[in-house]
Symmetry: C2
Subunit: 277 residues, 2 copies
């Protein structure tokens, strides 16, 4: 009995150590700060019109003079991520590339990252879903119709949006780790039973989700307004017309409601299902 208590204690200490620096507070702080990054990136993308040729494989084929399956945007992301990989971006587990490659990093000065995730579950991510949601659903609602030819600058800002969304949504792994550590007994039972529905229920807080959705909508109003020296400042508390903002606040609400929060929870459940592997 004494031995069992000792091992129980030792396990707890080891787990807490592995999870050093992670707490519900630091996780929430990270997610709140990422909201700003996401809203900024959407506003910056909305500066450019839709620029359809950048997303059309046929246009890329015409430019290259031969058949292509990939759009200009896909090729741009792949080449940019190759540079980022070489520069060690994906040494941090917080960053996950959309392109299916890994190159050994050669350029970056070395750094010993804290490993806060459970190794067997760290691979979990929903980048494929994020990619398809972004290009097929979000982008047509975000960008105005038109073509100004700034394809490279445009897809460059797409990549910033994708990276911000990916970092935020796949951070669900960190959220799940903290929740697991805080309530190991309950989670362990559900994980052993592979009970996805019960896991989803246990990690859901509708009140918290509601706060997040209303806050990002407000951020879209505050950050996306036209600031003048003498005019009044939009505080995000009124029912201002949506037309005055760089990125439609109700679209940012919808982004979180329909995609960011559900996908994050999908990541959390997937991570937990591998948490005892």
């Amino acid at each position: 009995m004494a031995a069992m208590d000792f091992y129980r204690y030792l396990t707890l200490v080891l787990l807490l150590h592995m999870c050093s620096g992670l707490s519900l507070d630091t996780v929430r702080e990270f997610l709140t700060r990422e909201e700003d990054t996401i809203v900024f990136s959407l506003i910056e993308r909305a500066k450019y019109p839709l620029n359809t040729p950048a997303y059309d494989p046929a246009a890329a084929a015409a430019a290259a003079g031969h058949l292509h399956n990939a759009s200009f945007a896909e090729m741009f992301v792949r080449e940019s991520e190759a540079v980022q990989a070489k520069a060690g971006r994906y040494q941090s587990l917080q960053e996950i590339p959309f392109s299916p490659f890994r190159v050994p990093f050669t350029l970056a000065p070395p750094f010993n990252f804290t490993r806060e995730l459970y190794p067997a579950a760290a691979f979990v991510n929903v980048n494929d879903d994020i990619w398809s949601m972004y290009f097929n659903q979000l982008l047509p609602l975000l960008a105005k119709n038109g073509d100004d030819g700034n394809y490279a600058a445009t897809v460059s800002s797409d990549l910033v949006c994708l990276q911000a969304l990916s970092r935020r949504i796949n951070y669900g792994r960190y959220v799940a780790e903290v929740k697991f550590i805080g309530d190991q007994q309950n989670y362990t039972t559900l994980i052993r039973n592979k009970d996805k529905d019960a896991l989803m229920k246990l990690l859901t807080s509708e009140a918290q989700e509601d706060v997040v959705k209303r806050r990002v909508q407000k951020k879209a109003m505050v950050f996306g307004q036209n600031v003048t020296l003498d005019g009044p400042v939009e505080t995000g508390n009124s029912n201002s017309s949506q037309a005055n903002f760089e990125a439609d606040p109700s679209l940012v609400y919808k982004l979180y409601d329909q995609w960011v929060i559900p996908l994050t929870k999908q990541v959390e459940v997937e991570y937990l299902l591998h948490r005892l592997d």
Copy 2:
């Protein structure tokens, strides 16, 4: 005399055509919108600590295992700009790379850009000054001390700052073009006399500069605040403590006062000196 009037008229028509779409209003609108981009990019860079090893050639040499003259940041910018060049970013004269290369673009769908600048003066830019100002003066004041190892993400956000500053400052060429078209007689005399001081005086509006500086400071307060659902919203009109903002508003004021505006005017003068070549 009639013939001379005809050619005078023709010249005016041709110049106005060349300058299609450019007016003092569209130029001001562009510059005002770029302020948001610059403030967002500074806030995003300030999210990361200084991360000194990314800027130290010795650290890059240690990582590569052999001697290097370039820092990690320099190598990263060079490789990223190579991808951007291949993607046709610099087909638009609004974008100027920091690295001294040009590759024929191969990836981008073709687009016929309007040429709004006078060809013999379009090359003018101060990217070398922007580079040195950014890394040596601005960055140490912008980023907090510390090292979190996210070197690739950090220098990636440096590149976004550099691109925004370069686009804004080198847009001085467009500003000068519009001013020249609007007052050809006076500018032509000063350009023929190579009278830099008089040119600088003619294109300077201190009242307008003052508005810009105070507006970007306000933007740093509005965009860099911590937005909460219930708390009050920072309107940028009060004398709030600087410590509460993601990027110090007084630093953003200083950036425009000491570097952005003077460098833009330097670009304007240089452009004008080549405007009759």
